[in-house]
């Protein structure tokens, strides 16, 4: 049976990982290459690199770093941040990314999903959605969660999948950063309509939160988190062990 995936997400700005980490044995805690290698050797099933650079110089640095990461890491690599055109897909895929995550760029131009899916295959296109409760429904936010688009998240995800998105990352703005667990209600609503894999994001604070996630919603394929891994609050080998003991199939 297929295993549940654990995915650390690294934010990269100007070629460096922001929000430093706290690991022993790393000579450079903000080097994406070192951190990527650390995670891949310590049980991560996939890595997400998110480019939060605003400048062209920073983007070029990111591209260089990505090439270096891809050269040293032999697990799937997803890249997101600043993906607005098919040329952006091309740029990061050439550097060795396996999948590309789109968010605001796809909201502005949904045709980007279909164009990319047609060119690179559905499995390459990950639709990342930031959603928040608003008057009894889930609304899609753009620009890193700063702007309410007024779109219904469930409808947007359905549309994204019909256009060719091969995976969904659902980030709940309501639970993000609270560290009291994933947004099970929102995730359930998305899993109910999604024929493609769903990756849960936002809210993980402990190992128990991952166990609850996979027990309560067996349809969820993966759990993504950032700070709890980076700050050493949860070590991935310990998390994998605890999940296995709870009867959840992990690598």
């Amino acid at each position: 049976m297929i295993t549940k995936r654990i995915i650390p997400c690294l934010d990269v700005k100007d070629g460096r990982v922001v929000k430093g980490v706290n690991f022993k044995g790393l000579s450079d805690v903000s080097s994406p290459v070192e951190l990527g290698r650390y995670y891949s050797e310590n049980g991560a099933d996939e890595l997400v690199f998110y480019d939060i650079t605003a400048s062209a110089e920073g983007r070029a640095l990111f591209t260089d770093i990505l090439t270096e990461v891809a050269r040293t890491i032999f697990i799937p690599l997803t890249v997101g941040g600043g993906i607005n055109t098919i040329d952006d897909f091309d740029r990061v895929l050439k550097c060795g990314a396996d999948k590309v995550s789109v968010n605001s760029g796809a909201i502005r131009n949904p045709g980007l999903i279909s164009e990319a899916a047609k060119k690179y295959g559905d499995q390459c296109v990950v639709l990342s959605v930031d959603a928040k409760r608003e008057g009894g429904r889930f609304c899609v936010y753009a620009k890193g969660g700063r702007e309410n688009t007024g779109m219904d998240a469930i409808e947007w995800i359905k549309k994204g999948i019909s256009l060719g998105a091969g995976e969904i990352v659902l980030n709940s703005i309501d639970t993000d950063g609270v560290k009291k667990g994933f947004d099970l209600e929102m995730l359930k609503a998305v899993c109910d309509i999604s024929p493609v894999p769903v990756i849960a994001s936002g809210g993980a604070g402990s190992i128990e939160d991952f166990i609850t996630l996979f027990k309560e919603i067996p349809e969820v394929d993966a759990g993504l988190a950032a700070s709890i891994f980076h700050f050493g609050e949860v070590a991935i080998p310990d998390l994998k062990k605890a999940l296995a003991e709870a009867g959840i199939n992990v690598r």
């Binding site: 049976m1 297929i2 295993t3 995936r5 891949s40 099933d45 891809a70 050269r71 040293t72 032999f74 697990i75 799937p76 895929l93 050439k94 550097c95 060795g96 396996d98 690179y120 295959g121 559905d122 499995q123 091969g166 995976e167 024929p195 493609v196 894999p197 349809e219 394929d221 993966a222 690598r251």
Partner: protein, 213 residues
């Protein structure tokens, strides 16, 4: 020298890097002469089968690969490259493939239970056939080790040539071999240490060595 066949489908960067990580120098090439000179060949590929088969044939590389395989050179097809090794495939129409391993590439949808997502994406376990010795391709791998899959179609009707299955609501062919021709449905170059050890075993195969079948 190992040749990675470049016929315009997929990203070959990771594959080249993973071979470099195990100390194997690989040449990414679409040049028939270079492929003929190589002592072993990897046929990669992502995307749609019909398109890939067409591109491979358009460059005449189908014949090159078949000729070299017939000489006993170790050949490894990965993912779509594996599917191309069989007789035929049905993705968006019926396509003739290389016919190096008997079998047919079909959609997994009719055989897996409802509720199972397609494509089959993620890490899944290798299961070895009970009635045959372990393939030399897996000499560094244990049953139950996980490898990374991304696919919607799988090789069927290749029973005696299966060297590993995986379980996804049904048994799906994870790897097959006939003589010196090997195919992995999963991506060894994306399967961490397990994947690297499979590539290493492939690079250690001698020309003409039997696949343990």
């Amino acid at each position: 020298m190992l040749a990675i066949v470049d016929y315009g489908v997929g990203n070959l960067f990771s594959l080249k890097s993973s071979l470099a990580a195990i100390g194997v120098e690989a040449l990414v090439t679409g040049d028939p002469e270079e492929i003929r000179k190589a002592d072993r060949i990897i046929l990669p590929g992502v995307g749609a089968l019909g398109d890939a088969a067409e591109k491979l044939c358009a460059g005449g590389l189908d014949k090159v690969v078949k000729d070299e395989a017939a000489k006993g050179k170790p050949l490894l097809g990965i993912c779509l490259g594996m599917q191309l090794l069989f007789d035929e495939g049905e993705e968006y129409g019926n396509h003739r493939c290389l016919g190096l391993i008997p079998g047919k590439v079909v959609s997994m949808k009719p055989v897996i239970p409802e509720g199972y997502k397609v494509p089959h994406i993620g890490w899944n376990r290798l299961i070895f056939p009970e009635d045959r010795p372990k393939s030399p391709l897996f000499k560094y791998v244990s049953e139950g080790d996980c490898v990374y899959f991304v696919h919607s179609y799988y090789a069927s009707e290749c029973g005696p040539y299966v060297i590993a299955d995986t379980e996804y609501g049904a048994r799906l062919t994870a790897a097959a071999a006939k003589g010196n021709v090997y195919g992995c449905q999963f991506h060894p170059e994306k399967s961490g240490k397990v994947g690297l050890s499979i590539l290493k075993a492939f690079c250690e195969l001698k020309s003409g060595e039997e696949a343990g079948i």
